[in-house]
Amino acid sequence: MTDTFQLDGVAVPFEPGQTVMQAALAADHYIPHLCYHPEFKPHGSCKLCTVKVNGRTMASCTMPAEAGLEVESEIEELNALRRTLVQMLFAEGNHFCPSCEKSGNCMLQALGYDLEVHAAGFRHQYPDRPLDASHPDILLDFNRCILCELCVRASSEVDGKNVFALAGRGNTKHLIVNAESGQLRDTDIALSDKAMQVCPVGVILPKRVGFSQPIGERRYDASPISAQALADAPRPPSGAEHD
């Protein structure tokens, strides 16, 4: 018999080494998240997946599952915090959805929808973040970067290239590429790289294929991100466990 913890009053089974997030998704329970990706080591930076564990708030993506934990997630107190975090991300960057190729397929936007965020509310920062269109096939629009580091992790861990890195700190933190010129065309990125596929927002885009899906047929048009995340969650086929 596997161990379980309680998530919003429901028993969730888990394997040793799984985090609360991994176990929850595998057992068909959605916890909002942005920087978490099932194929990568949990990062714990966006804090959207904040839950209450035995009364203390913590990120569920990095919290190791333990037998008997009392985890709360779908409660208004936490959704209010998540709403504020989404609003912070919108106010921090330049997220102009109507002109974004990723609109309809964007996790940040979809989370905003799910949490019924009508406006960022905060003072918009309007940072100056010039595009990098230097590469013949790939465009970088830093305006939309939420600093989740998924591209950094994918490029280094899967592609073995280190095309992306983060520079600066605090509110000057930003994404950079691995070239003395600072330009993407001088890196060894390729369209087939994993780093091309993991951006949850609209920073890393292949050129000449924007707006290819009509409105109504995009990823989050049909069903909300909560349903999509569960449909995509890795599940053990039969006893075999996702690591």
């Binding site: 102009f96 109507p98 929808y113 009508h118 003072r123 918009h124 973040r129």
Partner: protein, 181 residues
């Protein structure tokens, strides 16, 4: 019919494209039941020039110049509930794409150095409102009570939002009606 007092609504477009107003018209035949409940004050529909005391003010577009500030303040002063409608009102939208450009450089390029200009000069007629150095969403200038996102929000979203509000419910859009694009 009981003469229950109708709610008075004012609408305007500031630094916007009137797309949200077009969407208001997309409420289509439901405008008739709506008109049972509300009447319009200042609005492109009525051509009333100044806003009187109202229950609801609906403002499209962001704040890009001094006149926008005056109109927005007039709305805030007269409307019990103020709604920002559409991307521009909520986050500056398309006009705010100029926010990372220097205003002086913009004016210089457009009116003085653009190729083909002869005797260029920056308009200084006091009748013209001066542009602010950046475009701002409404909530950075006055208190805003509600936001209807979308570029533009659909007629269905506006209908849902307004009927919720009029019936005294906290408006909720839900999947399919809430969108930012």
């Amino acid at each position: 019919m009981t003469d229950k007092k109708k709610l008075r609504i004012a609408t305007t477009s500031l630094a916007g494209c009137f797309g949200c107003h077009m969407s208001i018209l997309d409420i289509d035949e439901r405008l008739f039941p709506l008109l049972e409940l509300v009447e319009f004050d200042r609005s492109p529909i009525t051509d009333i020039k100044h806003c009187g005391p109202c229950d609801i003010g609906i403002v499209e577009g962001g704040i890009c110049n001094a006149e926008n500030v005056h109109v927005l303040r007039e709305f805030r002063k007269n409307c019990k509930v103020l709604i920002a409608i559409g991307a521009c009102a909520i986050n500056g939208g398309l006009p705010a794409q100029r926010n990372h450009l220097d205003l002086s450089a913009c004016l210089t390029e457009v009116y003085l150095t653009e190729p083909g200009l002869v005797h260029g000069h920056i308009p200084n007629d006091p009748e013209l409102p001066l542009p602010l150095d950046k475009v701002h969403p409404l909530h950075e200038v006055v208190k805003v009570d509600y936001f209807i996102p979308g570029c533009p929000p659909s007629g269905d979203a506006i209908w849902k939002f307004l009927t919720d509000l009029i019936s005294g419910k906290t408006p909720e859009l839900g999947h399919g009606l809430i969108h930012y694009d």
